[in-house]
């Protein structure tokens, strides 16, 4: 490859990213025309493209870029104002540059399209606008009028000979076509696999500078990355087995510092680093899809004569790259539906007492080990009765059955194939064009789609997709002699039963076991009972047969919170989620399976499925937006018992997780107690030593409260975890002392609160110094 080829490749990769950024910047600029910084950034980007064109000898592209730069220059020096016509022209300009770049990428040449019209119209707009301004005339086109130079809908891989650019304003097609959305990327098949470092982390401001992105980016086949991740997953399991074997061997041989042990440690840590690096290659922020949407929605809105404000939340939510590609089309389709059918025309909205501009919100967040994406509009909504009638008319249900169905269930009919032809959709003011395709695509990757709507208020479509390909933090529990994994994302807290106090908290409410947790009643599900395993599988009689021991795993799914009673919690572990046969998924309570370090297969529970199987009622009056999980107004504390039997409270915000280390994973190093954990050494501090007094000698497994990484890789050694409390009175700092923040009153008793941060940030960490077991 010669120097020119290198430069060309670099240019193509960089330009394609720059153009995406231009799209976003232009739409943003339309919202805020006075953003001089953004305007400068746009100008620089175009200027760079022009410069490189001259160097590489791309005459047409150079000419177009020059016209664009000229228009932008007028904008920048303030001689014209940004209005819809100018924005439209600039967006057309971006599209044309894309088309030409696509041609260059495919053929090496600029194609035989003739773009002089566009160059000219850009120049004309620049001059006219300047002239109009000089006259003091009003050139501001109202937002809703079809712009003279509105861009054509982004076409499928436009042929270079037929530029889809709006050379003739009247040729603008209706944007609301019912067919599946076109891929907006004019560079077919060979879209660059931008590593997160280049694509995600780079800030818009830095993007326009001529940093050669291609130097730090290579193209890698996604399938290859997939098999790499799979192999690393296998390596992790083999590593775990190796560790177990080495421990056994060294225990019998008695050689503590054998070569074997050292090599095993080395393999251990390298594997852990390799695993996290391999996974990162596949994880991408959802922004990869979302970043095309401002432009899409803007074009759709203009095309439909609507005014739509799109807000995007959670664009940094990461998910597997292959899933990103799969959700692109369904999401595009849902947005199209929302703009086209959901949001009313401005006039209608005003008549209905709503703001003229419709609101469209796109949210992404992690929930229960899944990624949830919500598309919410404040449009006309869907009349559930209309859907019900339609379902009866189409013979999907009888009238009697339909009357009994919940609204939620009725809305599911919208996803039935052919449920809504274009005509009927308009009748029910809504959705349905191709919704079955959306559902099929989402379900193909193991996801779900739900729709919720209220007439006149709006519609929310909720897409949930699993992280099947990802590594997931999970809690390993046991029940009925078997182990199960529970996704950590759904776990809110753990409550140990067994103390006589907590057992009394299990009561009956109309026959269903519940537990009084702080100020509310928590429905309980007994895992043994649910799965019909182990002895005493029957659900105990409330209030009488409450189990004498066990742990309540408090799970939150959507707006529901419930307690899953298990026999015990083994530990937290990062697991590789493996798919299970469809016939087992159909049972509804398993999300998959995983292989633990000892080679055993363990089923992963699906918290949502468990809630459904146990018929946990949704909490009334709860916000449906689980995204806005309510932040506890009052601080909560984890109450632990130390080795010396003293009870202390740790602020829950300082706790990452709880973990128990077997004796063989504990070691004294440099006078400190450390635990081996996935290739790392974790320092364990003793709470007694932190406050005052000597730590308890180690005799068996050690339970530790692991602090978030921001507090240093440290665990606090405790004897027992007792409960999580939410005291009604605030912390009283009057009794603050060495290592203590103060006291809180819990059920009438004062309890010391550990000053975790203070102790860890002191120059010679007191709590580490005291961690030596004697």
């Amino acid at each position: 490859m010669n120097v020119d080829d290198e430069l060309l490749k670099e240019f193509l990769i960089e330009s394609s990213e720059s153009l995406d950024q231009l799209d976003r910047d232009l739409v943003a600029l339309e919202e805020n025309p006075r953003d001089a910084q953004r305007l400068s950034s746009i100008f620089r980007t175009v200027h760079n493209i022009k410069g490189i064109c001259g160097f590489l000898g791309f005459v047409k592209l150079g000419a177009i870029a020059h016209s664009g730069e000229h228009l932008l220059g007028k904008l920048r020096d303030g001689s014209i104002d940004l209005d819809e016509r100018v924005t439209g022209a600039l967006l057309s300009f971006v599209d044309t540059v894309r088309v030409i770049l696509g041609a260059i990428e495919r053929t090496g040449g600029e194609g035989d399209g003739d773009y002089r019209d566009l160059a000219q119209s850009l120049a004309v707009i620049a001059e006219e606008a300047a002239a109009a301004r000089a006259r003091g005339g009003d050139i501001v086109v109202t937002r809703l009028a079809p712009p003279p130079a509105a861009p054509a809908p982004v076409a499928v891989a436009p042929a270079p000979s037929a530029p889809p650019v709006a050379q003739h304003p009247q040729s603008t097609q209706p944007v609301s076509q019912p067919e599946p959305p076109a891929a907006p990327d004019p560079v077919p098949t060979a879209a660059p696999v931008s590593p997160p470092a280049a694509a995600a982390v780079a800030k818009p401001a830095g993007r326009s500078a001529a940093v050669p992105v291609a130097e730090s980016a290579i193209r890698v086949d996604v399938g290859l990355l997939g098999s790499l991740v799979d192999l690393v997953g296998e390596l992790v399991l083999a590593r775990n087995q190796l560790q177990a074997t080495v421990r056994r061997l060294s225990a019998t041989a008695g050689g503590e510092d054998s070569e074997l042990l050292k090599v095993a440690h080395r393999i251990d840590s390298v594997t852990a680093s390799l695993q996290s690096a391999a996974l990162k290659t596949r994880m991408q922020p959802i922004d990869q899809v979302f970043n095309k949407f401002p432009r899409l929605v803007r074009d759709l809105a203009v095309g439909c004569g609507k005014d739509v404000q799109l807000s995007i939340h959670g664009a940094d939510t990461e998910l597997d790259r292959s899933l990103i590609e799969t959700i692109r089309d369904p999401l595009t389709h849902l947005l199209r539906n929302a703009v086209d059918h959901g949001i009313e025309p401005p006039q209608t909205r005003v008549e209905r007492g709503k703001p003229a501009a419709g609101k469209l919100a796109l949210r992404a967040f992690h929930e229960s080990g899944q990624v949830t994406i919500e598309i919410t509009d404040d449009g006309g909504g869907i009349r559930v009765d209309a859907v019900r009638e339609k379902a009866v008319a189409r013979g999907l249900v009888s009238a009697e059955q339909a009357a009994l169905l919940s609204d939620e269930r009725v809305f599911q009919f919208i996803f039935e194939p052919g449920f809504s032809t274009a005509a009927t959709v308009t009748n029910i003011s809504g959705r349905g064009v191709g919704m079955d395709v959306v559902r099929t695509n989402i379900e193909a990757i193991g996801g779900t789609v739900e729709l919720d709507s209220r007439p006149g208020v709006g519609t929310t479509v909720r897409v949930r997709i699993p992280l099947t390909l990802a590594i997931m933090p999970a809690l390993i529990v046991h029940a009925g002699g078997q182990r199960f994994a529970i996704p950590q994302a759904a776990v809110r807290e753990l409550i140990a039963l067994g103390s006589s106090r907590s057992a009394a908290f299990i009561e009956g409410l109309e026959g269903a076991p519940v537990m009084r947790l702080r100020d509310r009643l928590l429905p309980l599900v007994f895992l043994r009972g649910l799965l019909a395993i182990g002895a005493g599988s029957a659900v105990p009689v409330p209030g009488v047969g409450a189990p004498a021991s066990g742990t309540v795993v408090v799970l939150r799914v959507d707006s529901q919170e419930f307690g899953l009673v298990v026999d015990g919690v083994a530990r937290a572990e990062d697991i590789v989620v493996k798919p299970i046969a469809k016939v087992l998924v159909a049972l509804g309570v398993y999300a998959g399976a995983t292989v633990l370090g000892d080679g055993d297969v363990v089923l992963i529970m699906d918290p949502r499925g468990v809630a459904q199987a146990a018929r946990i009622p949704a909490r009334p009056g709860d916000e449906s937006l689980a995204a806005a999980a309510p932040v506890a107004a009052r601080p909560r504390y984890l109450v632990c018992e130390t080795g010396r039997g003293r009870r202390v409270a740790v602020p829950l915000e300082d706790v990452q997780r709880l973990e128990t280390f077997p004796r063989e994973r504990l070691e004294e190093a440099a006078g400190r107690l450390v635990a081996h954990r996935e290739g790392h050494l974790l320092a364990l501090a003793d709470i007694d030593a932190m406050v005052q007094g000597a730590p308890e000698p180690i005799s068996g497994p050690v339970t530790a409260v692991i602090l978030p990484p921001a507090r240093g890789e440290v665990g606090l050694r405790v004897r027992r975890i007792l409960e999580v409390v939410e005291p009604s009175l605030p912390l009283d700092p009057a009794l603050a002392a060495a290592g203590l923040l103060g006291t809180v009153v819990i059920e009438g008793r004062a309890m010391e609160v550990l000053d975790v941060r203070g102790a860890l940030s002191s120059p010679a960490p007191r709590l580490l110094a005291g961690a030596v077991p004697r």
Binding site: L237, L531, A532, A586, G592, A593, V601
Partner: protein, 166 residues
């Protein structure tokens, strides 16, 4: 479907089907050999609560999670005394619609060429668990039952769906 199976010439030049024969509860069965991906000894499995009784558990096949179908239960041939247990049964791993399943059988026999002409319609299709029998082939050891792998799995899926609906 045996009729749709890839007919190939047997020893006598007539169309035949290559099958793998095995024993379950002292009866003979056979499946299309091309479905088989590998054969393993009986392995430790993880039970799947609530699953169809024939799903004995999950097997870790080099990182792939494979459900093990106990063919005695699946074919409704549970023996009064579980004599063969511990003596080591055999897992026949098959591929059905891109998913792997393992059939746990008592004893694996040979690969046999079954002449399509001599396959007769099943006689025991009405017996519970034997919905997957596609045909029979009389041999000198007794009747060889030809099984359809797709229906072996589909029968379990159908029973699961039915129980869930109730």
């Amino acid at each position: 479907m045996i009729a749709a199976a890839d007919g190939r010439a047997g020893p006598g030049g007539e169309p035949a089907m290559r099958c793998c024969a095995f024993q379950v509860a002292e009866r003979w069965f056979a499946i299309d050999a091309s479905r088989i991906t590998e054969v393993l000894r009986e392995q430790r499995t993880t039970p799947v609560p609530l699953a169809h009784p024939a799903v004995r558990g999950l097997l870790n096949l080099r990182g792939r999670i494979v459900p093990v179908i106990d063919m005695r239960t699946r074919l409704g041939l549970a023996m009064a005394t579980d004599t063969a247990d511990g003596a080591g049964r055999t897992n026949i791993v098959i591929e059905v619609e891109d998913e792997a399943f393992s059939l746990l059988v008592d004893r694996l026999a040979d690969v046999v060429e079954i002449p399509l002409r001599s396959i007769e319609p099943p006689t025991t299709a009405d017996r519970p668990g034997q919905d997957a029998i596609d045909g029979v082939w009389p041999t000198r050891f007794g009747l060889m039952h030809l099984l359809d792998t797709g229906r072996l799995v589909a029968g379990i899926a159908a029973a699961t769906a039915e129980r869930k609906a109730r």
